[in-house]
Symmetry: D2
Subunit: 417 residues, 4 copies
């Protein structure tokens, strides 16, 4: 039996219980730093596999450690918070919490890492070293990795030799995508409050209307990418939220925008932030606002840089079990991730990859039509719905193979499960 076949059989043996676990997590999403039920579930499972579990690391984070002789320390990371999205998938295991949804697939990340931990524990005679499994809170707001590091993660659990992690994506199941070098964008998120002057809805002339002010600002912010960023640069500016007023007949006092700026280049980042501020301040002047807008920094993610050698080594191992054609280079993507902070803080190489959760035929049809992503609900959509069993299989397989690659061998030869 080849390594691939052996791993495949091991995964299949755990699949039913992992899918149950996934559906339970999916039905019980929790927002950033409020992942109490999720943390307890993680701790219970990891402990049952024989890991040494510590909860409350970086507020709600969980660390599970398994030592097995001399060897490298390998950090395996899964994030576990959900999003303020109202699920509309109609799945039997859809979110039971109104307005909260695992729309980014972190439930799958947790499931796959727990599955890998189980397989690695079962096969511990085949490797040497130390597994540090990091279940991270609050990735969506860019604060969880920083919180765990600041809580003494490396002092308390050891400094890793490599940082490995993965994210589900609208790829076909069975596929993995990884880009060496700058791979995920930097993100700067802002809350902007624009101040008008409230009045009765029938007397706009006594108001400074913040609804119109905010609408004009949203329209003008479109020109940052369309006119101010060179076309060859990768950059996104999204106003994800605009909220002003409560009823139809009162002109409110203010409007609140929440926006995110994604870039790969520091100069472009500076330019875009300046453009946003110039436009927002200018639109307040145009409106005749008497009070300056206020800017509050929300999340900030740096660019995630995948180590070139680590990518080559890890993807080699993953391709060994999933098949050569199954590993692709997606180029840089516009999403952001704080997993890179573990690597930076530990001065260790990072390899972070995407794995597929989408039906292969649907994906192939979409990709063939040149309209990939038009028909496959993307992460953060209220319709985001990876295929449970095949996605779990892909993620557990990739993570286990990657971890084994970096752990030491008992007698110096390559091993498989």
């Amino acid at each position: 039996m080849t390594a691939s076949q052996e791993l495949d059989r091991a995964v299949r043996g755990e699949l039913d219980s992992l899918v149950d676990l996934y559906q339970d997590l999916h039905a019980h999403p929790e927002l950033s730093f409020a992942e109490h039920r999720t943390a307890a579930t993680v701790a219970r499972h990891a402990a049952s596999y024989g890991y040494d579990v510590t909860s409350g690391v970086g507020r709600t984070g969980v660390v599970a450690v398994l030592d097995h002789g001399e060897g490298p320390t390998v950090l395996l990371r899964a994030d576990f918070d959900a999003l303020p999205v109202t699920e509309r998938t109609g799945l039997p295991y859809a979110s039971r919490t109104a307005g909260v949804m695992h729309a980014c697939g972190h439930d799958l990340h947790v499931t796959c890492l727990l599955g890998a931990l189980k397989l690695l524990a079962d096969a511990r005679e085949r490797w040497r070293g130390r597994i540090v499994a990091v279940f991270q809170p609050a990735e969506e707001v860019g604060e969880g990795a920083r919180a765990m590091i600041d809580d003494g993660l490396f002092d308390r659990f050891g400094t890793p030799d490599v940082v490995l992690g993965q994210h589900v994506a609208p790829l076909a199941v069975g596929m993995v995508a990884c880009h060496a070098g700058p791979a995920f964008a930097a993100t700067d998120s802002l809350k902007v409050v624009m101040y008008g002057k409230g009045a009765h809805g029938s007397r706009p002339e006594t108001s400074v209307d913040p609804v119109v002010m905010a609408a004009a600002t949203v329209m003008r912010l479109q020109t940052v990418v369309s006119r101010e960023v060179p076309a060859g640069e990768t950059a996104v500016l999204t106003v994800g939220s605009l909220r002003a007023g409560t009823v139809d007949n009162i002109i409110p006092d203010e409007a609140e925008l929440r926006l995110s700026i994604r870039t790969y280049d520091e100069d472009i980042r500076t330019r875009m932030r300046a453009a946003v501020e110039r436009i927002v301040r200018g639109e307040a002047l145009v409106a005749g606002a008497e009070r300056e807008p206020e800017f509050t920094a929300l999340d900030a993610f740096p660019v995630l840089v995948n180590d070139e050698a680590a990518v080559a080594r890890t993807m080699g191992a993953v391709a060994g079990v999933l098949g050569d054609g199954q590993v692709i280079d997606p180029g840089p993507v516009t999403g952001s991730e704080d997993v890179g902070l573990f690597g930076t803080a530990a001065k260790a190489p990072v390899c972070y990859w995407l794995f597929g959760g989408c039906d292969a035929e649907v994906y192939a049809a979409a990709a063939a039509g040149g309209t990939l992503d038009r028909d496959v609900p993307s992460n953060h959509s209220p319709l985001f719905a990876p295929l449970a069993a095949p996605a779990v299989t892909t993620g557990v397989t990739a993570m286990t193979a990657a971890a084994l690659e970096w752990l030491g061998r008992p007698g110096g030869t390559a091993e498989s499960i």
Copy 2:
């Protein structure tokens, strides 16, 4: 002692307790059809003056009746609901309920009508007839008058010969303003939901962005008044609320607009409603939305028409006590009122006027600068703050004088308090 002096003395005798009542009502605002504490306060006071009180008319409305011999039936109306506004006046008696405020002065209407009821009861030997005091809920949403009428108001308490009411406004205290003919605008309020397609904030190309769709719609709706309504027509279109999304990094699925259309002319009303629908549907097409926007009718107020003869008679009486120069004609205003429904349903003439709540010097300075309303917080503003004692004095005086004018005389001669 003249009638005016006598009334003035009577008002002064009640002023302290009325100001206390006003401040208590102001501190405890309640939203439309939830005016339970307010209704109880009203009922308690009116009963203590000797009125026959019925609660729960039209859900939360209160009717207080005082019969005193043969004579006309005079309906005196005060509305008593508050608004979803967060008060920012900093007054010691500011709202204690977060997000709710008497920003339209209905607390003052209640206080003044109760004050007038007290004075009229005290002076009952001077008039003959029947006072029907109507404390109406849910004026802000245009449903309260209809609810009380539908609950048998006239069958149960008598059909009035005249309908009288008043509203505080940013006029100088001591002043009253009343326009004969069409005096308050019709209002049609709509909720509009525009449907986009949610996605991760980093991948707008997989979305149909409802934030941009709504912003473009708000900008284009400005052209309804600026381009489609003849300049000589009185018309307002206000988008009072725009809400889309919750966080910076998720493109939401939809955006909700709440807007109101105010008109005096049926043709203009029809044209504006058609223009709003054309623009909203068109903007969804422009955005590439896959789902049609949805329109839900919210409030609808008809034009309020003041009876010419009733205005002349009532304002004559009011000018008799406040002074000739104190009563002005403001022309038609863009506010809306459902008080007219009582007149229409009862086939009785209506006289509805504005009374001043603003500091005379501040008002004079603002009016002289040609910028009235620029410096005086208007109704529905979170800073709306009538001057308590002078405003109560003005409102009680006007309402009492108006009611006496329409009630019968014991021996056929004019009477004063």
Copy 3:
């Protein structure tokens, strides 16, 4: 034969030649201050009726005087410039000058005044006094009346006791409309140049795009009327021209807007001019423009105020010949006219009215549908096409009757033609 019948017969006698004259003028429109052919035509006709003609008054203006004994001096005014509009009526006598059209009907004003001069000359035994017929250039740019006055109009030709004039409008033929008091709006016209920074169309990031800057400005200018002017005020802001760039692949350096502001109230006028400047300057800031926008005042018309007594007297005479139901009060209109300057400078009352040029059935149908002006091409439209013979009849009749009313009578009794 009544006065009306007699006048009617006289008009019919001249009709064919007047319609020929009208069609000739219509085919040869000339822009403001370039009305050389028109002026020569006017001079030739007026001289042939026996008037004393002076050309070149106020550059291209023409004055025709007829003295006939002691009596009042009556100023009759027609404007005679055309517009930079490309005619699209398809009429056999359509403009033969590319890009220039009598789209405002000044050709009809000239024809009707010449017709009235002929009738008045023929009937000179019936009146006493002095007719000063003023054929004014450059009304469309608001400069002609001022130019003629500054050129010594009253010193050279006498100060009038009354100023009479008329304008064709989309009313039914046979109708006249006149409003006493403020009747035509003030207009302030501006040229605005917004400065961007040109670049190759492929590299917007090296530009400050003036096309986007101007577009955003146009959208935001809509809010002046929709949000900043009280709904009861009559005000219009039109951007009539926007020009930027020449080709698709060059981002130009600048954009030019031409706009007009129409108001009746001095405070609103001041507020709107300030709002336009605030918005234009603010939008340049929003765009990151390095150079301030430039504002150049173009035309400026004051409010035209019709004298109340003069309107009553004049319209009484006009109703006498056209029929009582044929004279209406249209209320204040948003058009502008510089004819009022003659009255102001001469300290004489002004009566300026509209006369109908539209098919009565078409007009009635449009008015009945509540959509008047939607189906009848309005002045300044490339499709503007008054009905020649009936419009000439209406205008000659009204002008002749009005002039006769104000001229003296030979023996003190009223006369007719």
Copy 4:
């Protein structure tokens, strides 16, 4: 003396007369297909160097041929039309033709190719083969290359073995930039006419205002790049021209937009064209336009693909004379070029490069500030002004070296001038 030194001396010998030629061309720019004076100048010079000159190829194009024994046929191309830009450089040799300018540097392309032809003719004993110098009209409108090919270019003058050409760019003088593979974007240009309904500026309610319609369209077109194109794709949408109306007080009938779409990917191109059409049609609906917008295709350029081997070989030769550090890879740029059509039609490899015309210190400062192109006027700017002598030196040197590289050697060994 090295090849580089020898070539350098030869260039210096011609420099004065070439700079004179350049300034003369710059002062006399001519629009696409109207390059009569330019063509005559080119023909005169090339003939004087001994080339066999044919004029009128593809309307105004010029072909100059020099045969010298057996060897490869090398096509050297310079484009020679100017742009509708009003020059603002203030140079002594600035354009003498109002509204036309060599703002893209085609005058420099002509000068450098003529300089190279002179040097190659002088050094003809050092090479064998056939030089086909193609002076192409109408590059700016994307029609000149096609016109020359369709006029039998290859049948009449031979099919080339390689196509070489160059374009001046805001690089430092002495530098050359060339990217192998897809190097210049595809462009699709459109004229869009949006139809409103004209009216007098005072009565917008009788109009469908095309100025507002066009402004809203420009704002919404910004969302094509900001929301509908994936951030990693290179795409530009520029509205280079917007023209509507002529005066301030007439609402015009229509507005004309001229826009260009630049892409590298066929799917993105299709998507953007569809988005433009959807937005334009939708905005007409939003405005209530009664007539559909009209779209007219203007220029269309395909992607220009540089042959990988040809780039390596050509740039090797150029680096040999300019210095190794002087040749860089700029990556794909967003400009477009029709030079690729010669290669496609001839089935020959193309190498098309950029050469520097900018002061080295200015360029270095701009590049160091991360704001390159912010301070150096880019092509198509009215301030575009390459440094004459150094730019000519760079361009002549590069073109001569490149041509020599591809021509045959008399005895099989490499030669230099």
